[in-house]
Symmetry: D2
Subunit: 297 residues, 4 copies
């Protein structure tokens, strides 16, 4: 299939490579020349602008951009995709942005005659490279069915979440809960250990009890409890604190627009912000347990 | 075996019954005559005071009391258990109290020549009746081994947590995390639904993603998502808000003594307190989602 | 002086009237015809659009709009003020918006040859009618000096806060602290009274001690403590909960952009949001004390 | 007058000295010999135990102790004050403890025939030395009138707060609000400065606006804003973070017993606890602003 891919960063780059490997013809664009070069060497053809991509003969265009202002600019800008793309081309935005903006862009696309899906992912750069991402999809069921085999080249779980924007809703809701659970796990583990318990014994009990969560049984923030977790390798790799902070920012913004209180969600955002301001934004988000640990004098 | 059982309330009553059913000889005490009568009719013999029980020939004495002041009074009071009990009798306290008090009482017992275990339970009145409680045990390993077959008549999981007080530590740490996760689940579910998602679809996604926790996959607070959860029967039964509030009070108190910050733990305590003050202390704790729901005018 | 006034709502309407009373010639615009009519009857002349106002001969144009998207549209829109206004005309935006947006608009104005001030107010509709508002001004000192006599017709305190956007910074910082202090006052008053103290005695002690703040000595949230405060008249009038919520939304948004943690500011936002969601958004913000009060069964 | 003084630490020592200077005869006790020696050199006579003091001929006994367990031991212990003191001797406890314990001790005293006042102070060691403390008094009005001239030798403001325990209530309520306001002030000042405002200009605006509080106009946490505040001398002296933490612990404990939510009070406690755990417990509590400041790499 002829596919356009716009945004070849840490996530978009390996995702595009997996599409090439699956045998698709790829037309790519990014502002960073080196990123484009890497894909061209792997067999993609480069275009000079979103407008040029839109004017081409892609059947599907996928975008992977940092934030909602970039998504709006690329789709809705004067010389953007919607100004030039043929009706019927399927548009898929894999950026993580707020649901309201996602719906605004999807509405404009549909009005222009283009089916559109929001398709944010989870799984990190590791999942992007391995083609094991989870896609959370919002849009029409028929468009989801059409996109499914394409996305399957890049991900393992392709989940339909309902109408436009719902992919983003699912992602911010899940990640807000994740951000809260991880801090809760850090507090519970540190409390138990400071009161004299062995960390592995405590984790074992929690993991067979009602406190059980992904943050304790799969990604425990206490060093040494789970050998494969970032906590056991100095909090390197994984899902960075500043990325969690971005997602919590989207969640509280969406909550504000929906006039929905999220007391722990907002508290979690501020706690990670405090930790990031102390210079830890690049560590895996489970490193938040360090904010709760006694500092050596 | 000859066992004394002190405290025959909502939890202690059915636990004592299960010991009788297992063939043990039971000597019981409670301030409430009706509670004693119920056990006597089932085959137990009644004593008139903790002192009388201590002076008897029980090999093991089990206590199940509301709070640390009762535990201290019964064990350490002028006419309490330790003033009269023979050395060597195994003492098991199943009350949920703060770890510091548990260690204080255990220390006094050991000094007096009595092995002691703290053995708080989870599983609620349903688990007490069915004999499926989880016991979290702190104390010496040898005493744990001795107690294990007795406790097995009342519970399904008998978990050794390490030295004295560690049963209480495990319980407050687990329940603090549970209290936080449930509020996080309530916020995430309500945020997603208020942004237009179907509750069951959202729960399905979270339960296969990193936000997964017992509060979403087993005890989801959104009505109708899990048919067997209290949320699907008007938040009746289950684990009451005021009981969760008690456990969070123990957790933050223990954290204060350990000089350990628990930001979300303390926030959770205040959120349940707000909900309880609005008259909802008797509802299952997952009803906290109602604090986050739009009130009809 | 010939002045344009754009935005004649609850605040803008009475402010414009005070300019008329001070002898200025007024050209006005609003989307709501009744608001315009009211001003025209008082002596103003109406124009049909921002563009028409910009093309006229106003020496100064003042805007008073609900939110940053309106400010951006009116100033930066294709047919907005900056597309048509003569260089040198002084632009004053009295809307309360986030500092970043204020700086963006001011930057565009200056580039276009127009001095611009951000001039948000405090004092409410009462202060707008009485001409006793406080203006917090960001921009060049010389432009502040030029604006000062005009603003003096509408306000009592005209405070220079430094460069562009600083009027907005001062307002969000002050109002965030106000929102926090009021909740703190509500908690302290309710705690003291629930522990048996007389509310007036407690307020008297706090007001001569280190807990003293505007929220206790001038605007105490406990009914009956200060006769002139909204608390003593059913929380009517004053500064609405939803307006406080808007300002806290601006504060936490600005903090997010500055990567600055505001833990209590974010908590305050969520607490007012909870109260608003329960149907109390129209009450004075000091009514937040009701969220902390026992509900009658 | 013949006065007994029990507890000669950082606060009690200088307070006792001021009683001597005012011409009273002083009988003193402390576990630390050096503290007693200092007072004896200044003219006091030493006794060997609380019991000996109680058996003596003091007309008034004043206690100044670290925490409620010490107060209970000294008053209610087997060999404590109430076991030996003559009926009619006025008892004054200046310790800062929780209101419930204060009422328990006062109730026992009254039952024994001794009028008792709770009389916690604010003003710190500086105020204790200068004789300018504020006393917050709970108990009978007649006893307050009797104590007033004695306390006037140690303090400037002697405030009657109502029945037994109300002195403690007033202190915890005031200090909880203080702890909240100071964090609010820290967040507002840091937010404003990080957004580009001058700290002194911002403080000036807040101090004439609705955000005004003792923490901004008298004790501003931003360095250089108020020359006499601890912030302008490296956060030395003043009121230590760990003392604020103790008072917030009393406030949240009292709130728990009263079933009264204190969301920001509990958040403040955790924030100071986090700061203390990072090694800053000895700094003045206004140093909390450092938790909100960017750390140098």
């Amino acid at each position: 299939m002829k596919i356009g891919f716009l945004g070849l960063g840490n996530m978009g780059g390996p995702m595009a490579l997996n599409l090439l490997k699956a045998g698709h013809q790829l037309s790519v664009f990014d502002l960073v020349a080196a990123s484009v070069k890497h894909l061209v060497e792997a067999g993609a053809s480069a275009v000079g602008s979103p407008a040029e991509m839109a004017k081409g003969d892609c059947e599907v265009i996928i975008t992977m951009l940092p934030a909602s202002q970039h998504v709006k600019a690329v789709y809705l800008g004067e010389d953007g995709l919607l100004a030039h793309v043929k009706a019927g081309v399927l548009l898929i935005d894999s950026s993580t942005i707020d649901p309201i903006s996602a719906r605004e862009v999807a509405g404009a696309a549909v009005k222009h005659g283009n089916p559109m899906l929001d398709a944010p992912v989870s799984g990190g750069t590791g999942g992007a490279a391995a083609g094991t991402l989870t896609f959370m999809i919002g849009g029409e069921q028929a468009d989801f069915d059409r996109a499914q085999p394409i996305l399957a080249a890049m991900g393992k779980n392709i989940v339909y979440c309902g109408g436009a924007g719902n992919g983003q809703v699912a992602k911010v809701a899940n990640n807000m809960l994740l951000g809260i659970s991880m801090i809760g796990a850090a507090e519970a583990m540190n409390l138990g250990v400071s009161l004299g318990m062995d960390a592995k014994v405590l984790a074992g009990i929690i993991n067979t009890s009602s406190g059980r969560c992904w943050s304790t049984d799969t990604y425990n923030p206490f060093p040494g409890v789970i050998e494969t977790a970032p906590a056991s390798r100095g909090y390197t790799g994984g899902f960075g604190t500043d990325l969690m902070l971005k997602d919590l920012g989207l969640a509280t913004e969406a909550a504000k627009q929906a006039r929905q209180p999220v007391m722990l969600g907002a508290a979690a955002q501020q706690i990670y912000q405090t930790f990031s301001q102390q210079g830890n934004g690049g560590l895996d988000f489970s490193a938040i347990i360090k904010l709760y640990s006694k500092q050596e004098g």
